[in-house]
Amino acid sequence: MSLKFKDLLGLEHLDKNDLQTILDSVKIFKGLFKKSNKTSTLRGKTVVTLFYEPSTRTRTSFEIAAKRLSADVVNIAVSGSSIIKGESLIDTGKTLEAMGADYIVIRHMLAGTPDMLARNLNISIINAGDGFHEHPTQGLLDLYTIYERKKRIEGLRVLLIGDILHSRVARSNIWALTKMGAEVLVLGPSTLIPASIEDLGVKVYHNLDEAIKKVDVLNILRVQFERQQENLFPSIREYISLYQLTKERLAMAKSGVLIMHPGPMNRGIEVTSEVVDAPNAAISEQIVNGVAVRMAVFCLLEHVV
């Protein structure tokens, strides 16, 4: 099994077969991961994580995935200020390539930066989140988590709740789920819904009590406090009253509804602790699947170098 491209920049350009290939191999890698064994698949390969935004879970997940495959891992955390200093991203990428990196896993606050690297380098580029654009491995791990729990994707209804406008997780989820035949609903305050989102094949809702009854999966997105300062919603209090997933609201949902959150969570804001700890929540399963997905991606990408 392998994919016919060297980079994973987003899920927009993957087709159903690509996604199925990934799902199938994640299962295998998850088995390997659970056995706590290392494989020698990537022995001698070097993975560089190049993070322009702070991240603990995504970077660590990539690092563990790479190490389980016996790759050497170098972590670079770049502070936001070096962008302002005018350091060229392409120069940085070329330097890492010259040093023998086989993969660059990049996280950046600006959309399109992984594409920029991929256009200028020969090694594999994996997007670990770029601005509001995409976070493909998160989209894949969410897809796999649903697949694992529900045994299918096609015909399911998935609700994404929260700040859709600024969410790369939402975009990658939408691409993956709609391509696999799920129906995607997005829900949030109208100021946090991007223009023409319906063109991605989704339905827009603003009322949680109405939408929650219709769906098989709830994926709750993190709400960022600075959005309130940007005047996109009036107060946290109002956000909680309209969009917080509570035990009471959950009671209105279909039984067995799957609850997910890409993390990090603001307990007590977008979701209450009771909900997070409910048996049909798959939040810690998402973390495990994240490592397996990243192992799969490292192995499936076409090796050019």
């Binding site: 959309a111 399109g112 930066t113 654009h133």
Partner: protein, 442 residues
């Protein structure tokens, strides 16, 4: 190629199709005679130089009412030397340079500097556009009277639109007595926010912040109302949306003194072309939708849009090579102007050849009161552009004359282009040697 001294030479272009929009029904094969830098009906003696015009077309030299030559202050992007040569290659014989230089064009000394540099190093006419407000600050009126005396042809704060409506009213009122058109880069900067491309499906797909069309239309609407209030001359720059075309069309019906321009990229590209995060598609106003492109073509066809300008905005490759969010707005335009007009408007039947030429010659000359330009009538300044519609070429980066290589059209094939440019009776560029002839206008 020989160098001429003004007032001494006689140039004859033989057997050429002549298309001069102001001369009604005049589309004939004949000779163009140039003497003392002017168009004449014929010579008393022999020509000093004869150009064979067989199969080609002579039109008035293009007047580009919207360009950035970057000098003084940003010579790293472009200079009067390089910018006017790029213009010459594009058949542009008169360039209006916008005032966002360093220092800005709000004093007579900067105007004089630009004229001085143009005389010394330039090869086409350069007419500065003065600031509408001091320092492009949007607060105090600029010294329009003195600036006009120094030679400006219009006022504008261009990329720094005047947000205060009372100030804009005063600018319009005050400029009116000098017959100085006010060029409005219509944009509500608050509404644009940190947007970097058109707001819509594509900005959502790409995760880039959007600029709604209304950011332009709100200001077009306001400025038309203020033009109505003051009776001043308002020229709307680089119209990019269907809504703006409608607003200008309605205003013209009400006899508001408003004119408008668009740029080749707004009738050629859409926000679909931003797909690869190429900063050479990052322009302000941004590339819009297909429906806007269609409306702009209709606006050009029915006369709502009077002019085609380039908004030539050179930047360095380093600046344009940055992340999409961090790269500056703007693309170069002189060298692809005519080819895009021919490809997108004339060959597709949107405009006749003569109509298309009028939007780059006689219309801008009339709007900006350029006496004796934009026509090939006897006695006019001999600014002539020679076109060959059979000339087919690929627009290559290494052939770009401008210092800026920031064009989304690199690699595109064109049929039809400029083959010779004459300014004040002097051949300043010709395709044969593909180089700029030495030129001294003194």
């Amino acid at each position: 190629m020989s160098t001429y001294k003004e007032g001494k030479m006689r140039l004859q272009i033989k057997n050429i199709r002549i298309v001069d929009p102001p001369s009604q029904n005049q589309d004939l094969i004949g000779d163009v005679f140039v003497e003392d830098g002017k168009i004449v009906s014929k010579f008393s003696g022999d020509a000093d130089e004869v150009v064979d015009g067989e199969g080609k077309i002579a039109v008035p030299g293009f007047i580009d009412v919207h360009a950035h030559l970057r000098e003084p202050g940003q010579e790293i992007k472009e200079t009067i030397y390089t910018g006017t040569r790029s213009a010459a290659k594009g058949g542009v014989t008169t360039v209006f340079c916008m005032p966002n230089t360093e220092p800005v064009i709000d004093s007579t000394s900067v105007v004089e500097f630009i004229f001085h540099k143009t005389r010394k190093e330039g090869c086409v006419n350069v007419f500065p556009v003065g600031c509408a407000t001091k320092g492009l600050q949007g607060l105090e009126l600029s010294e329009m009277g003195l600036l006009k005396e120094a030679g400006i042809v219009a006022v504008s704060d261009d990329g720094f639109p005047i947000s205060n409506s009372r100030v804009m009213r005063r600018v319009l009122e005050y400029s009116k007595m000098f017959k100085l058109p006010v060029i409005s880069h219509s944009e509500d900067k608050e509404l644009s926010g940190n947007g970097v491309m058109n707001e819509g499906k594509n900005s959502t797909f790409l995760g880039l912040r959007g600029i709604p069309k209304q950011a332009e239309e709100v200001m077009v609407s306001r400025d038309i109302m203020l033009a109505e209030l003051t009776g001043a001359y308002l020229h709307i720059a680089h119209v990019s949306t269907a809504g703006s075309v409608d607003l200008v069309r309605q205003a013209k019906k009400k006899n508001v003194k408003v004119t408008a321009e668009t740029c080749p990229h707004y009738f050629t590209l859409t926000d679909n072309d931003v797909k690869v995060y190429d900063a050479n598609t990052k322009i302000n106003p941004p590339l819009r939708g297909k429906e806007d492109v269609d409306a702009i073509k209709r606006g050009l066809a029915d006369g709502t849009i009077d002019c085609i300008a380039t908004d030539h905005a050179p930047h360095t490759q380093e600046e344009k090579g940055k992340e999409f969010d961090l790269a500056p707005f703007g693309i170069i335009g002189f060298e692809t102007l005519l080819s895009l007009v021919l490809d997108e408007l004339v060959d597709t039947g949107v405009l006749s050849f003569c109509e298309a030429i009028s939007k780059m010659t006689s219309n801008p000359a009339k709007i900006f009161n350029l006496e004796g330009r934009g026509t090939l009538k006897e006695g006019s300044v001999a600014d002539v552009t020679i076109i060959d519609t059979r000339y087919s070429y690929e627009f290559k980066k290494e052939k770009i004359v401008s210092k800026g290589k920031n064009s989304p059209f690199i690699g595109r094939r064109f049929k039809g282009g400029v083959v010779m440019t004459i300014v004040g009776g002097n051949i300043v560029w010709s395709l044969n040697n593909n180089s700029i002839t030495s030129f001294d206008r003194r």
